[in-house]
């Protein structure tokens, strides 16, 4: 009996089933539901990408990084600059250097480039900064958000400063987002259940023991940080071409906070947990947005999220799933 179950499990991996279901869902949404709902779903998926990628950085290794918005900013601007048609570049950014002003990339390569540059930034910064502990790392990464913001604001030549870039082409269809979501989850899943991932989770429990056993703790931290930053950069590009606007203030500490909330509620280290939590919380955010406008009660959504988090922290610190995954998704029984 057991043997048969195992066989079945390995023949059709549950994740693939889920991916397929998701695909069917996307088809339905795209074909049958309104553009508004499609965009809401797009945002929800985008938050899921962000949450899972933050989980790689924070959840697997136990690092406490709030830096995702910084990498989103980097990736978002790079992608935007590359995708922006030449004639618009002339209009928005007349002083752009020649080699950049003539570039006009298509969507996918530009997004990937955004992610890569963000990853490189993460690599450079990560090496010194990841040595900081816990909340010192947290504050340093918040500092990073501000540093990136300031750099973006003060280089009008390249970024149009505080005004940002608007009128970006709407290129982020729900298909693209789903594509990237699948990739992110796949990478995260593969990583978590690889030997790297196991070591990372071990690091979370007891770093000293791990390094005594020979693991290169620093290298793993940087790896997790860089991978997370790549997907954050990608998300930045996706975000910019979903909302068609990007400004230095698009990606703020409160975004980082909301992502952390998703991780805490879903359970840091649990991919399925962060998917569920991201889905739930972003649904809340998107649902409350029009409500806030209608009632004139701005900030209500954020207040709600903060209160929920405080409750969770006080009463159930492990979140929904802790470090584990939903039972039916697990490979090993």
């Amino acid at each position: 009996m057991r043997l048969k179950e195992l066989n079945l499990r390995s023949k059709i991996p549950p994740m693939a089933v889920l991916g397929l279901i998701g695909l069917i869902f996307v088809v339905i949404v795209d074909k049958f539901l309104s553009a508004y709902i499609t965009s809401v779903i797009s945002f929800i998926f985008l938050y899921m990408i962000l949450a899972v990628s933050l989980n790689i950085t924070n959840g697997f290794t136990g690092l406490f990084s709030l830096g995702h918005p910084a990498f989103m900013g980097v990736g978002g601007y790079i992608a935007s600059l590359l995708i922006l048609p030449v004639f618009r570049k002339e209009f928005f950014l007349p002083e752009l250097p020649q080699w950049l002003a003539t570039q006009q990339w298509s969507f996918f390569p530009a997004i990937v480039m955004g992610g890569l540059i963000a990853a490189i930034v993460a690599l450079i910064i990560g090496y010194p900064v990841l040595r900081l502990k816990d909340h010192y790392l947290g504050v340093a990464t918040i500092g990073l958000i501000f540093i990136v913001k300031v750099i973006l604001k003060n280089n009008e030549q390249y970024t149009r400063g505080a005004l940002g870039l608007n009128g970006l082409e709407f290129k982020t269809s729900i298909w693209w987002i789903y594509f990237w979501l699948v990739i992110t989850v796949y990478v995260a899943w593969k990583l978590k259940f690889s030997s790297y991932g196991r070591t990372m989770l071990g690091m979370k429990e007891n770093e000293m023991a791990c390094s005594c056993l020979g693991s290169n703790v620093t290298a793993l931290k940087i790896m997790a940080f860089v991978i997370g930053a790549f997907f954050a950069g990608v998300s930045g590009g996706l975000w910019a071409h979903l909302t068609t606007v990007i400004t230095p203030d698009s990606f703020s500490p409160s975004l980082a906070f909301n992502l952390v909330v998703m991780l805490v509620i879903g359970g840091t280290g649990s991919i399925s947990g962060s998917l569920i939590a991201a889905g739930g919380i972003s649904l809340l955010i998107e649902y409350l947005r029009p409500l806030e406008e209608a009632l004139g009660m701005y900030g209500l959504g954020q207040i709600l999220i903060s209160v929920v988090l405080l409750f969770v922290l006080i009463f159930r610190t492990r979140g929904l799933l802790g470090s584990s995954e939903l039972k039916f998704l697990q490979k090993e029984v």
Partner: protein, 294 residues
């Protein structure tokens, strides 16, 4: 002449940061908790002052009231948010304080809208006098001198009184402090009350100086106060004050001495400084040795 102006501004800005940094470091010293909501208490103080000014209370009473109400806010924050989390890992408190901060900011937006409001300074503070040939507002004197006075009182309290020594003991070793019969929850509460009172007071002065308040005004100064505390050595009250002045002067000099195009980089400079100090001088100037690096 220009240098004089920079120095005076540095003193003023430094005082404002010092007031916030002190409260920050007091709580951190005992709980090892970075309290993001601290900056927002400063914002509360600013808004409260606007309310008090509207009802035409004499300014001396307003100042006192702000200190007291700020203390009450601190007491509430401790009781409601942080006490239930005693014993949880560091990061939990950090996240919680971030949650609290966003909560307060958004409550502010909800109640007062995100638009900045004007801070109407009473006649007395707008009068000026000449200092080294510069017109300096009475407000500026009040800022600098009241900070010095409050700082002195606090340092005496912490040095000489039994409760002050108890606070220092609790900051060093909470468990052993309990062995002395010290009620640590009370000590922590006192740290919150004093710190928050000072932060609210700073908010009042800040509003007066810059003429504008908005619900988000506290977050960045709160973070910078953390930088100031780190410069001076977290846990040290004198260090926080020194750090506040160093930060205040650095900011003013940075903007004042560098070419105009660079002045937008001021905040990046502050956070860059934070990262450098955390990496190379983690104990700051006066701090006690602590685990900053993994």
């Amino acid at each position: 002449m220009y240098i004089t102006e920079l120095i005076i501004n540095g003193l003023i800005q430094g005082s404002l940061y010092a007031l916030i940094a002190i409260g920050f470091t007091m709580v951190y010293g005992i709980l090892r908790l970075i309290n993001f909501a601290h900056g927002d208490v400063m914002m509360i103080g600013a808004f409260l002052t606007i309310g008090l000014l509207k009802i035409n209370l004499p300014w001396q009473i307003s100042m006192l009231l702000i200190l007291l109400v700020g203390g009450a806010v601190g007491f509430t924050i401790d009781k409601v948010a942080f006490r239930p989390m005693r014993g949880a890992p560091q990061v939990t408190g950090f996240i919680a304080s971030l949650a609290l901060s966003l909560l307060l900011q958004n409550l502010g937006i909800l109640l007062f809208s995100a638009q900045p409001r004007n801070f109407f300074l009473p006649e007395f503070f707008r009068k000026t006098t000449l200092v080294f040939g510069l017109e300096v507002r009475y407000l500026s004197f009040v800022i600098v001198f009241s900070t010095f006075i409050l700082l002195t009182i606090l340092l005496l309290f912490v040095k000489k009184t039994k409760l002050g020594i108890a606070m220092r003991a609790t900051a060093e070793n909470l468990q052993v402090a309990r062995l002395m019969g010290i009620r640590v929850n009370t000590t922590i509460m006192v740290a919150f009350v004093i710190g928050s009172g000072l932060a609210a007071y700073s908010g009042m002065l800040w509003g007066g100086r810059y003429g504008q308040v908005d619900p988000l005004m506290g977050f960045l100064p709160g973070l910078k106060a953390f930088v100031a505390a780190v410069i001076g050595g977290v846990g040290s009250i004198a260090g926080a004050a020194i750090g506040g002045y160093i930060l205040g002067f650095s900011e003013i000099l940075f903007v004042g001495l560098l070419p105009v195009g660079m002045s937008g980089y001021r905040d990046a400079f502050v956070f860059g400084l934070l990262i450098i100090i955390l990496l190379f001088l983690p104990n700051g100037i006066l701090g006690t040795s602590e685990e900053v690096r993994a």
